[in-house]
Amino acid sequence: MKKKNNNNLHAMYSKTHYEYVRKIKRDKTFILSMQILLFVAFIGLWELLATVNIIDPFFFSSPSRIYTTFVSLISSGSLWTHIGITLFETIIGFLIATALGTLIAILLWWNEKLRRILEPYIIILNSLPKIALGPIIILWVGSGATAIITMCVLICIVITTISMMNAFLSCDKDKVLLMQSMHANKFQIFCKLILPSAIPEFLSVLKINVGMSWVGTIMGEYLSSSAGLGYLIVYGSQVFKIDLVMTSTVLLCLLAGLMYAIICVIEKKFKR
């Protein structure tokens, strides 16, 4: 519909409005071009400083070296394995944490006694730096993918539970009363009122969890792994292959951004 309006701009709106819309467009173009410029300048400056040896490319790498590393990783075929593993761990961790966290939040909403009993423990769990549990996790579930996914889940799940529970509890009391006056039972109140009204909060939890699950996975890979982007970063820094570290970091940026973009698309779908 928006597009249509734009096409008919001259016919439908006054001159002032036309100029107003044009100004918005101009601003948008300006901001986008500045963003691109900033990116290009950063890359260019980095490359330049490395080439003239003002910064030591051995420690700071450089865009061209990152590119070469990238190409050689692809041609050796190992890149896809590393990306695949990290992506797999992150997505599984993300899904488990979101689903399980929401499920726990539902239970806590449902049962007030349970909620009050568990409240202090949840608060403690939330403030605990989950990375501290790393060594214990490895002892309990063994090293490798299971430990990494567990780490990822641990990091995301508490905040998911807390946010979703608060969203459920913050539903308008009068709306609940309205449902009751129509004789809805608790299950109906949950399905027809509480859950749909918590969708906006759920979407923002999804966004937070995208970021957090990458943190969790990379932390997990730092602790124990034999493959994955986090592994490449640790390995690269131990053997002073800074190019490898930088390449992996750039890839991480791209992947995390991509996942975030997917969530944004889902969000748009929901909001219509």
Binding site: D174, K175, L177, L178, M179, S181, M182, S197, I199
Partner: protein, 256 residues
């Protein structure tokens, strides 16, 4: 006309951690079938409490509340409740909003109720908005949708808790008229809680004036104003007189 609702010496206490709040003190009144009855009283006196008790959402501490000679109970389908705000669910279409009660109660005569819903929408000029979202409707239209949502369940008694107070004055007069017409033409009994005396006078056949907390019935006024609609009733020569009378009773109360 026969009595539909009867409050017989009803007391009600709210329990809180620190104290027991007496909200109603021996409340007695009756509402006849198809009567439009308003309840006015100082704020916080216990008007909403009376409606919640009638709807069975609260239980009287003592005394009896009878609907057609039978005690009201929780989930009494003879009663419909309309709140101060319309509480339409934004994520549902208008149609899905007004059929919410049918969805919840899954009545046997579902088809008939759906048909009623459709007819009500048509009758009150909302059919064109059937598939729209509540946010696309004006405040007055939203209140009419909220009323239809209640009417679809075919309650005998409608409870209206300040349903117009969120609207601006002009819309309010219009919506009063609409709601009055809907309630009368569907032959419903209604209890309207309001803090607007003129609204009470223009809409009702009976006004119950409450004292401040704990609420007791101070007086019951039976009115018979000329005019078909609330707007016309405002033109009645005795309107001002009635207004003064109720105003004095309420302000006396506040001085005390």
């Amino acid at each position: 006309m026969n009595t539909l609702l009867k409050f017989d010496n009803v007391d009600f206490y709210y329990q809180t951690k620190t104290e027991e709040i007496k909200a109603l003190s021996s409340v007695n009144f009756e509402v006849s079938d198809q009567e439009f009855c308003s309840v006015v009283g100082p704020s916080g006196c216990g008007k909403t409490t009376i409606l919640s008790l009638t709807a069975g959402l609260l239980k009287a501490s003592s005394g009896k509340i009878l609907l057609k000679d039978k005690p009201v109970e929780k989930n009494d389908s003879r009663i419909g409740y309309m709140f101060q705000r319309d509480h339409l669910f934004e994520w549902r279409s208008i149609w899905k909003n007004i059929t919410l009660g049918i969805e919840i109660q899954k009545p046997q005569n579902k088809e008939a109720k759906l048909e009623l819903a459709e007819n009500l929408l048509k009758k009150y000029d909302l059919y064109a908005f059937k598939n729209q979202r509540p946010s696309q409707l004006s405040g007055g239209m939203r209140q009419r949708v909220a009323l239809i949502r209640t009417l679809v369940l075919e309650p005998q008694l409608l409870l209206l808790d300040e349903p117009f107070s969120a609207l601006d004055f002009q819309t309010r007069l219009k919506v009063c008229d609409d709601v009055y017409e809907m309630i009368k033409s569907e032959k419903k009994t209604a209890i309207l809680v309001t803090h607007d005396i003129s609204e009470a006078i223009s809409m009702s056949e009976k006004i119950i004036v409450l004292s401040s907390r704990p609420a007791a019935v101070k007086s019951v006024l039976k009115l018979n104003l000329k005019g078909k609609t609330p707007l016309e009733k405002r033109e009645d020569p005795t309107f001002g007189e009635l207004f003064d009378k109720i105003w004095k009773e309420l302000t006396n109360e506040e001085k005390k």
